[in-house]
């Protein structure tokens, strides 16, 4: 084993993992085919061909055209194929998808990446443009991140659990910086490296692709919509967890556009932790094996704040899922961000939450599940009249409940930095002054009223007190770094941060008063507290 932990053994098992995935996916498809109806192979293959032909309808590159032609051939031939031939097509397709998804792990690349830590990992999030400038200029700033990032939570319990089973790390997602930051935080917390699914769009840069592909990341092509692809992807994740490869994915699916803490989670990959546990329990191993670790990533500034909030406001309900032209591809903005954002003490707070089992129960350091102070046998949830057994509908509901537990953990564990507190207090003042709560009308205010520094500081202090006094502190807490500082210090710190990075800051101090300036960005930082009930605000 290399110092990369379990992930260091990935390559030795790669073929076996792919083999497991293919065997299971094909086996299930053939079982369903035998039952007949809408799940016969011709329907499965036809759905895949239909979705792929739609995706490739306007194909331009020779590779895409070739792919389209292959799908057209399959689509045209389906009605004439025998069951044996259809099974052959299915096997070919599943194999191709599994190979495309599967990652790789090269210990030499791992050591190199760690040697230039955090640059090596930081590069994962950065596309080609401005790359060289970023590398040269970013080294110092990323060393600053090393000094200024703070880790919170019961990491000792997580280290104990990592030795007993598989960690499934599920962080909040705000920025393309999240991947390097969480990778860095895992290392600093003494936790094992994780494999994770990365959007295939991030693999288009050959340099980045080289790093990602050799550090265990697997490819997720969000453009492919057919069920067979999703089935293979989920099975790949299941097999990894089952075999003990610590995994990471962002349950929000994409960066939070509003700046808020994710409330609605995508449950597809989350459910693979439960499936992995169920598979092992069905083989007689009732020990919990998948431990879900909610993590909140808290930044005082967000690199892509302006683009994300503009997208949120302009496209509500029709958000762009993949944004490829935001601040995270502009070298100068990245450098500016790193200079401004990463040099402040406590600029990033990574909080590891209480680990959960796949049913949403808390887990102790020995891997035992607890339901309201009582130890509960997690395998008992899988009982089907005396023995553990699979049940897709039941397990989907369990996963939904686990998703709710993660959402609660996110809200409880979020840490509010001065920029969030000040933006929230200022936003509330603006709404009150304008007698308006409609976001779009408030955003159109031509001349928002300035708020005196002392008034704003009092608001911030009151807000901090209320958050601390809320039952169960269920809505998150102010960052503890600022506990012994008064409201004025918090306001001033926020204003310094805003001015240091944003060309047009969300708010500025002028003549002893806070003047809202760039309202969309102000709204973005305020939204970190959007889940906090109005009674607390």
């Amino acid at each position: 084993m290399t110092d990369a932990g379990r992930l260091g053994e990935f390559n030795r098992e790669r073929e076996a993992i792919i083999g497991d995935v293919e065997r299971r996916v094909v086996g299930r498809a053939l079982d369903r085919h035998k039952r007949g109806g809408d799940e016969r192979l011709e329907y499965v293959l036809n759905e895949a061909a239909y979705e792929e032909l739609r995706r490739l309808e306007h194909a331009r590159s020779p590779e895409d055209k070739k792919e389209r032609a292959a799908w057209q051939r399959l689509s045209g031939a389906l009605a004439r194929l025998s069951d044996f031939e259809k099974e052959g097509e299915l096997r070919k397709l599943v194999h191709a998808i599994a190979i495309d998804i599967a990652g790789n792990f090269d210990p030499r690349v791992w050591r190199f990446a760690r040697g230039v830590m955090p640059v090596g990992i930081a590069l994962l999030g950065l596309p080609e443009r401005g790359l060289l400038a970023t590398v040269r200029g970013g080294l110092d700033q990323l060393r600053a991140l090393d000094r200024n990032l703070r880790i919170e939570g019961d990491t000792e319990r997580l280290r104990a659990l990592a030795a007993r089973g598989t960690l499934v790390v599920v962080p909040t997602h705000l920025s393309n910086f999240d991947s390097p930051v969480i990778g860095f935080a895992l290392e600093r917390a003494g936790l094992p490296a994780c494999t994770y699914g990365a959007g295939k769009n991030l693999f288009t840069n050959p340099f980045l692709s080289y790093f990602m592909h050799n550090l265990g990341a697997y490819r997720v092509d969000r453009r492919i919509r057919h069920d067979l692809y999703k089935d293979v992807l989920k099975e790949y994740s299941t097999v990894l967890i089952e075999r003990g490869f610590h995994s990471l994915f962002f349950p929000g699916g994409t960066r939070s556009r509003s700046g808020g803490v994710e409330g609605h989670l995508k449950l597809g990959l989350l459910g693979t932790g439960l499936t992995a546990f169920g598979n092992r329990a069905a083989r007689g191993d009732r020990r919990p094996c998948a431990f879900i670790v909610p993590v909140t990533l808290n930044y005082h500034l967000t690199l892509e704040a302006e683009t994300l909030i503009a997208d949120h406001l302009a496209e509500q309900g029709k958000k762009r899922y993949i944004i490829e032209d935001d601040e995270s591809v502009q070298g100068t903005r990245i450098l500016s961000y790193m200079r401004a954002a990463l040099r402040t003490p406590g600029c990033v707070v990574v909080r590891f939450g209480t680990p959960l089992d796949p049913f949403g129960n808390e887990v102790d350091a020995e891997g035992r599940s607890h339901a309201h102070d009582r130890v509960v046998d997690a395998a008992s949830y899988l009982d089907r009249g005396g023995a553990p057994g699979p049940d897709a509908a039941r397990d989907a509901e369990y996963t939904r409940l686990c998703g709710e537990a993660i959402s609660r953990a996110f809200r409880r564990d979020v840490r509010f930095l001065p920029t969030h507190l000040v933006a929230c207090a200022l936003w509330e003042r603006m709404c009150t002054a304008a007698r308006e709560r409609d976001v779009y009308r408030v955003l159109r205010l031509a001349r928002p009223t300035p708020v005196a520094l002392t008034t704003l500081a009092e608001d911030v202090d009151r807000l901090r007190d209320r958050l601390r006094a809320a039952p169960g502190q269920a809505h998150g807490l102010p960052d503890s770094t600022w506990d012994d500082k008064d409201g004025v210090s918090v306001v001033e710190a926020a204003m310094r941060s805003f001015a240091a990075f944003h060309p047009r800051p969300p708010a500025v101090m002028k003549d002893g008063a806070a003047q809202p300036l760039q309202l969309q960005a102000l709204y973005y930082y305020r939204n970190r507290m959007a889940h906090v009930p109005r009674g607390v605000l």
């Binding site: 049913f359 129960n361 339901a371 309201h372 009582r374 509960v376 046998d377 997690a378 395998a379 008992s380 949830y381 899988l382 009982d383 089907r384 009249g385 005396g386 049940d391 509908a393 039941r394 509901e397 369990y398 939904r400 409940l401």
Partner: protein, 303 residues
């Protein structure tokens, strides 16, 4: 972990015993669990150990206490149904939420519909709906409870079924109120119909489906109640309608349901003029004689 397949009913009240009688009439085994050692009951521990499906048949105000006593005997293998027609009075949470707060059980559902203990005990045919997102719980309930006397339907809209049953009780108050004000069947029908529509709107805001309120747990129970005898809920509404003085703090379940519904409507920003007027009436902020104007002189709207 229990490996049994049996059924236990916890709560030896009229409904619990009538349900047990209905099941036994089908030749099936059922235990009645009670902490009080009543005749024909077994201790809670035995009931839970020997049964996979546990039916909690206690009123909502007793549910949390009963669940805390059951908790040591329950684990993840159990399936739990409750019959409580109301919300937790302290927190206004659904009883299925209380189940998950107090016990290790996750597979939870509600048994609702026009279930009347006396008619069940007489063996008259009736039907109920199991609201649960867990299909295995629904199937088990059908197998264990269903038969020639009791037809059991399933509905995955657990929130809708539970809210229709819990909040629907407020319509007993509406019915009594209309009578107390001296109105006839047409006005009562209008008040009940609009009341149900308001409850459905609240249900939708909280994740339920409007259609569920038109099923057994909503309309089914409403029709059964309306055809039934005058009880303390209706009588209280009549007193209220006549503007007679009443004892403070002695409100029946229908008044508590109306208050809970109005509070949920406020929390969720749901338009519920009738329920809000009911609350104002209960709080003495509106006189019965002003109720008609308050409701009828609003701007016209589509149904």
């Amino acid at each position: 972990m229990t490996t049994a397949r049996g059924l236990a009913i916890v709560g030896a009240g009229a409904l619990g015993r009538a349900l047990a009688q209905t099941v036994r009439a089908e030749g099936k085994r059922v235990l009645i669990g009670s902490a009080k050692g009543l005749e024909g009951t077994v201790p809670m521990k035995d009931a839970c150990e020997q049964s996979r499906l546990v039916v909690l048949a206690v009123p909502p105000e007793w549910a949390r206490d009963a669940l805390s006593k059951l908790a040591p005997h329950l684990d993840g293998s159990h399936l739990l149904l409750h019959t409580a027609r109301g919300l937790d009075p302290e927190t206004r949470q659904r009883i299925s939420e209380v189940v998950r707060q107090e016990t290790a059980v996750l597979r939870v559902g509600v048994l609702a519909g026009p279930l009347r203990a006396r008619e069940l005990a007489r063996g008259e045919p009736t039907a109920a709906v199991v609201g649960s997102r867990f299909p295995d719980l629904v199937e088990e309930a059908k197998q264990q409870l269903g038969g020639a006397r009791l037809r059991v339907y399933g509905n995955p809209d657990a929130v809708g079924v539970e809210l229709a049953a819990a909040l629907g009780l407020s319509l007993r108050l509406v019915e009594g109120l209309a009578t107390g004000l001296g109105f006839g069947p047409a006005t009562r029908a209008v008040a009940l119909t609009r009341g149900l529509a308001e409850l459905a709107r609240i249900g939708e805001r909280l994740g339920g489906k409007e259609r569920t309120f038109m099923g057994l747990s909503g309309v089914g129970t409403l029709l059964s109640d309306a055809a039934g005898p005058v009880d303390e809920d209706v009588a209280f509404g009549e007193t209220l309608g006549r503007g007679e003085p009443r004892l403070r703090g002695a409100e029946p379940p229908s008044a508590l349901a109306a208050r809970a519904a109005a509070a949920l409507a406020t929390d969720t920003g749901t338009r519920t003029p009738l329920l809000l007027a009911l609350r104002a009436l209960l709080d003495g902020q509106l006189q019965p004689t002003d109720l008609q104007r308050a409701l009828m002189e609003r701007a016209f709207a589509d149904e």
